[in-house]
């Protein structure tokens, strides 16, 4: 059969496969995390960011952006949040934290490890979310009343996620994170 001129053939590269695999792991973590009851809306461990950190360290910022944004999109579809306020909040949080990660990855590696990146990204995440929440969802300065709570959560979960990412990165010939029992 002669190949059709309108046929589109997608040839996924090794990078595409890698992005898909890591994004899948991140999506699983997000969906699993959504089942955990939490006392305050907005305070979440954000375990999927472990994947983002690992991808950032191993494969660079561009790939980390792909993984993080695919994760936001697909997990919102799975959880029925697509285009709901929560989707935009997590999108903005991801975008701001990816921007900060892009800067933080250039910090000298001798002194600053994944924990620094994780904590900084977590703060960027709540910062971006609070600004959007203030501008759009809760147009009142009352949202900032919760800043200390969010900051504490960002510190704590930033530390935990950063430590897990550091540990995963340390394993020399580590299997892909989704099989490492994150």
């Amino acid at each position: 059969m002669t190949p059709s001129t309108t046929e589109i053939i997608l040839r996924p590269s090794a990078e595409d496969h890698r992005v898909a695999r890591h994004a899948a792991a991140a999506i699983v973590l997000t969906v699993a995390e959504a089942a955990i009851p939490l006392p305050l809306p907005g305070v979440k461990p954000g375990l999927a960011n472990i994947i983002t950190l690992v991808v950032l360290a191993r494969w660079g910022w561009r790939e980390a952006v792909w993984v993080a944004l695919l994760r936001v999109l697909v997990s919102s579809l799975l959880l029925g949040q697509f285009l709901a306020p929560g989707f935009f909040l997590s999108l903005v949080g991801s975008v701001t934290s990816l921007a900060v990660l892009g800067l933080a990855m250039h910090l000298p590696g001798r002194a600053f490890g994944p924990v620094s990146q994780s904590v900084l990204a977590a703060f960027a995440h709540i910062g971006g979310q609070l600004l959007v929440a203030r501008a759009w969802l809760v147009p009142h300065d009352g949202v900032f009343y919760l800043v200390p709570v969010f900051a504490l959560a960002a510190t704590l979960f930033g530390l935990v996620n950063g430590l897990i990412a550091a540990r995963l990165l340390q394993e020399k010939s580590a299997p892909p994170p989704e099989q490492a029992g994150v």
Binding site: L107, A111, V115, S116, F123, V147, A151, T155
Partner: protein, 135 residues
């Protein structure tokens, strides 16, 4: 409680992933938590008491020292007691004593009114979320 050797080893294994820059970032993060809590959660602290008699301001007193004021009104003198961070109407000649029974006022926006003697005591601060009349 002294952690057992297993727990200590476990913690040490995790702590091994922390570099000095990470500790710095964590310290800064904790400082940000503390500072934001202080900055955002103390807005209700009063810093001044405004005492009115007969509709006019009788005195504005800083809430940083202990002090007793006698405010004259049509029925007699209302005694107002100021202490660091709080104030109350200690005695009033009015018949129902509502303002006295309110006790110590300690948040910005709180108001005690002794209507019969035309005396009121109000606390003001940088940011009062509500006043006790509207509330």
């Amino acid at each position: 409680m002294i952690p057992g050797p297993a727990l200590r080893g476990w913690l040490a294994a995790w702590a091994a992933h922390l570099k000095w820059g990470d500790v710095l970032v964590l310290a800064a993060a904790l400082a940000a938590c503390g500072l934001s809590a202080v900055a955002l959660w103390q807005g209700g602290r009063p810093d001044k008491a405004i005492i009115k008699a007969g509709g006019r301001v009788f005195a504005e007193v800083d809430l940083n020292a202990t002090r007793i004021l006698e405010v004259p009104g049509p029925l007699g003198a209302t005694r107002i007691e100021i202490q660091p961070g709080r104030a109350r109407v200690a005695a009033d000649p009015g018949p129902r004593q509502y303002c006295v029974r309110q006790g110590w006022l300690s948040s910005a926006g709180a108001v005690a009114i002794c209507a019969p003697n035309q005396v009121s005591l109000a606390l003001s601060g940088r940011t009062a979320d509500y006043d006790s009349i509207n509330y």
